[in-house]
Amino acid sequence: MTQTLNFVALLGRALISACSTLGNVALFALVGVSHLVRPPFQFRQFWRHFIEIAYFSLPVVALTALFTGMVLALQSFTGFSRFNAESAIASVVVLSVTRELGPVLAGLMVAGRIGAAVAAELGTMRVTDQIDALTTLSTDPMKYLVAPRLLAATLAMPLLVLVADILGVLGGYLIGTVKLGFVSETYLSNSWNVLQTMDVVSGLVKAAVFGFIIALMGAWCGYNSKGGAQGVGQATTRAVVASSILILALDYVITEAFFSR
């Protein structure tokens, strides 16, 4: 009986802790977003982070998308050839890349690169008193550190995903035409005919949401880190893990919202 009660108590504590964390993250996000509509605006900070995310993440996202498109075409061919459905490969590649793989893989790559960097930078600033220093220098840390990152990641991710979409489809096209013997025009027309505006739009909406989540989790984990180097390391890990899980979970939610019948 005591063991059962202890177990229930443990579950209760975990639930309360989870709700408390969720509430704190939501409040943090709300405050961060509120600074985006209240002057003064941190254009310089926004631009710095936008370049960092959109431009410097480009190589890793581009390579990921290109190879994913190539592998997808190759694997689809292996499966579809058993049913004499090779002609569907172009459709599968373009829909998979624009709807799912582009935003999700770009999101995961950016989470690893930017989410970790944001958490580490803010975590280090926290444990070295730099965030307190901002306050004493008449600057709201949420306005200076968090809000520009939220906006930059939200706007940069759709651009990255647009590039990922193009390169993913290009990867499939290259494998299709060079290795699998598709006629170039047929492959392209198959891709173009099946693609609808909503496929691309849903991917870009996902990208914007993922960008916001990556910046939010990185900022929240870093901003609230404690201790020294170990605390910063833990914050970095938490940021990447949390944003990766949220990306996958929200991917399902957004897909349901766009495409459920």
């Binding site: 600033m125 307190d132 220093a133 008449s138 600057t139 200076y144």
Partner: protein, 266 residues
């Protein structure tokens, strides 16, 4: 620090007044009813061992930590009853030198020094470079240091830059958190001298915390000792080591035997 003791207009209202300040983190009570007055235009030094509540006191005054209870007054006004805008106005005329400098890694030295002025749009970026060079010169650094990043500076240089940043906006209250910690004795004396010069030049009220007795005597007009979250003594900084209070004298002389050690053995 006689240099500042005869400076500044005496006023019956303390610049900073603390009454019954309490703060606990979980079960650990850090501040247990701190009462303290800091006279306008004077330099107050708070002494105390590690974990005695010195840094928490400063953070409560600056609003970086919210106390559980107690009164904090600045210029006779209760900080707890101030609006957000009024608190910002208080911070606008406050400077702070953090223990480890807390310089912003992502910005060059000149931007660190003029951060507050730039944030408040009181000067342009072009003017900020000149202003930073001026502020750096006042702490004995060449203008060329302004183009370096904080990571390229030695500990002593970082402290000087942090001091330049703390005073660049000409605050009337300046807080110093362990200004000489981690520095060799000569560099410590240099920093103390710079602190005295800056405070004197600005006519500011200084509030320092330290456990460096030589530094306390150099920069302080008044001193107080905090122990177990309470002020156990307050008086002239020049009497440190000969105050008649056993705890303070033991601490000031750095003696192993005494009431503080005896309490630790319990």
């Amino acid at each position: 620090m006689s240099a500042v003791s005869d400076r500044g207009a005496e006023s019956s209202t303390p610049k900073i007044r603390l009454r019954g300040l309490r703060k606990a983190f979980g079960d650990k009570v850090v501040l247990d009813g701190v009462d303290l007055d800091v006279r306008a235009g004077h330099s107050m030094v708070i002494l105390g061992g590690s974990g005695s509540g010195k840094s928490v006191t400063i953070k409560c005054i600056l609003g970086l930590i919210t106390p559980d209870s107690g009164l904090i007054e600045i210029d006779g006004r209760d900080v707890g009853k101030m609006s957000h805008r009024e608190r910002e106005a208080i911070l606008d005329r406050t400077g702070m030198l953090f223990q480890n400098g807390a310089l912003f890694d992502s910005l060059p030295v000149w931007e660190n020094v003029c951060f507050k002025l730039l944030a408040q749009k009181r000067i342009t970026r072009a003017q900020a470079r000149d202003k930073a060079a001026e502020a750096l010169a006042q702490v004995g650094l060449a203008a060329s240091v302004g183009d370096l990043s904080p990571a390229e500076l030695s500990g002593g240089m970082q402290k000087r830059v942090a001091l330049a940043r703390a005073v660049a906006a000409q605050p009337d209250i300046i807080f110093f958190d362990e200004p000489t910690t981690g520095l060799d004795p000569i560099m410590g004396a240099v920093i103390d001298g710079l602190i005295v010069d800056c405070v004197q030049r600005l006519g500011a009220t200084a509030f320092s915390i330290t456990h460096d007795m030589a530094s306390a005597r150099r920069i302080g007009d008044d001193a107080a000792m905090i122990h177990k979250g309470r002020i156990i003594w307050a008086g002239s900084a020049q009497t440190l080591g000969d105050t008649g209070n056993e705890m303070v004298d033991q601490f000031a002389r750095g003696e192993r035997e005494g009431p503080i050690q005896m309490e630790l053995r319990k």
